[in-house]
Amino acid sequence: MATLEGFRDKEFLDQITILNEISGNKDSEHLPGLVKLLKSPVGDTSIDYMVVNALNAVLSQSESETVAGMEDDHPGYRILCIRVAGEYGFGTATPTLVKIAEQETDPDRLMEVLTSLARISDSGALPVFRKYLEHEDPFISALCIEALGKLRDLSSVGFLKTILTESEAPDKYEICDITTWKAVESLAAFDTEDTLAFLVEKLHHKNPTVRRIITDAMTDIGSPVIPLLLAAFEQGDTDMKILTANVLGFIADKACADGLVAAFDKGLASDNNVRYALYEALGRVGTMKGIICLVDGLTEEEELTLMAVIGGLEKHVNPGIVAKLTTIVQSATEQGDRVAKAIINTGATNLFDALYENAGAGDGLIAALEQSNDPEIIEEFRSLLLEIGGSRAEQDLARLPQPEAATRKALAADDSRSMCAMHKAILTDLGFDPLLAPNGQEAFELIEQGEEFEIIITDMNMPVMDGLELVGKVRNTPGYEDVPIIMVTTESEASQQNLARKTGVTAFITKPFKPDELKEKINELLA
């Protein structure tokens, strides 16, 4: 049986054994002795540390002693009890903790008290969390925001909304504060129609990090937010439609596709960019209705939009799709050529494989493939043809152009697969060997690996690292001070062009554009 009697005179090893035993049995009879040891320490760091651990263990079994200890005269013991109360969620500690928090002026100690209150998560603490919501220490403020969200304190909703609204102010929007981050998460945690609708409204926040946090929060919430997103899609402007379509695609619920198709049928996707986002989302979700809408989209004439349709269908190949595509591709019409070209340019090998069985459709695809200058694409389909085998495949293989390895390299960064495929087709046509990246970070990694690019094309908004940051980094890289950079923007991003130009963008091209326009721009810059 461990005893603390004469503890100070004992050998080091005995002291350790005793404290270990107390930590294990957590017997409250040792409390007075341990408190004495804490208040006048032995002086050996490891022993003193073990005393704290043993006290923590003993106090964990005694809620009343812990609560009493929070008002002890000894500051060290006070803090220890405050922490224990939080760690073990002692509900009866709330009133005392609230009282301490109300009077505490030192930010570090206040943080300790509030942390414990947050861990206990008792509604009795609401007044103090509200009181320190605007504390100058961002950690304290963020902690209160988080706690109020967890406790679903509806009366704070207004303030949280204000945080998010004010974070868009001209002098603030460039940085995403931790308070803004926590405000979004808390508003999402409330999960009421009001807070979710507000978040949907803020989908187009000026700061890309905040946009991403909101998008992630909505993707996590899923079903409850779908009707709100669909409403925003119906009522919002072009940008809102694109953003909501993207989020609906990420949620990937059947209701997302149904709603998008309904909106499409109402004629709410007349804008090319909106239809593009809608097709991409439908491709992600992949419900029957969505696929039918995608099949209908095969009449799209614009190259990029058609590529989004093909990209979506590629993920859900079924006999119906194949039959429809076969008819179109072997029809020897302009649309047939366009669809065949889109299948080739998106690298849709599943569709190709299914269509090739039909000799007519196969011919159409091979004709499109012959026109491609992209060695990678040709290689991809070449190996597919080898796999398919047979005499017809062998003859077709002989028809394929032998790609010459391009030596001039170009870099394209875009988070949309279809945009990447289009950049690739354009750059290959111009005789470049294009390297593609889904975001700024991966693009920059290619540069860091020592690749030398003659031209760089980048999207403005991308996850992980956006276009502006990429441009800034590229311009700071030796040898890249003058390499032409073309930024792809939408109409609505025009306001950010000034900033982009200052960062080092050479030229802009606004979506939607025809491949020839981009080609012209590239030739102009490299002339």
Binding site: D108, M111, P138, F139, A142, D177, I178, T209, Q441, E448
Partner: protein, 152 residues
């Protein structure tokens, strides 16, 4: 991640730098990072496992790292490169250890890996995480450094 995890690291960074290198850092305003890369000239990186899994990095500007070494070693610098590497590794280890002790007192138990030091002017390192990364900038008379937190 919870903001409460950050405070012990801030306290440890200030404590360690002021006691070991006689540099008094000023804490700046924390923010959420746009990407998941740490950027600096010298970075100390530790992996943490336990309550949550993640990594914490301390990225120093060259001037700040050199100032730390000079203050710690005085005139005994033999090879500035290896001394910087050593000092930043040691700093990171101490800060991680002290912060973990602080967290343990609150019942949050973490194990820390031995620190890795990465050097290279304006290098970048990727943290692996899905959740947003919080960064805390510090300024000193000799240039700045940043602590970044990244948890699953």
């Amino acid at each position: 991640m919870d903001v409460e995890l950050a405070k012990p690291f801030i306290k440890a960074a200030v404590d360690v730098l002021s006691t070991m290198a006689f540099i008094q850092p000023q804490v700046g305003k924390p923010f959420v990072k746009k990407n998941n890369m740490a950027q600096g000239d010298v970075t100390g990186l530790v992996g943490l496992t336990g309550e949550k899994n993640g990594s914490v990095s301390l990225s120093f500007s060259k001037a700040c790292a050199v100032a730390i070494v000079k203050n710690m070693l005085g005139d005994e610098i033999e090879d500035i490169l290896s001394d910087v590497k050593d000092a930043v590794g040691e700093m990171t280890n101490m800060i991680s250890g002290q912060a973990r002790a602080g967290l343990a007192e609150k019942g949050l138990i973490f194990q820390g890996s031995t620190p890795t030091v990465i050097m290279g002017d304006n290098h970048t390192i990727s943290h692996l995480a899905k959740s947003p990364i919080m960064a805390i900038p510090f300024s000193t008379d000799h240039g700045g450094f940043t602590i970044e937190f990244c948890f699953e």
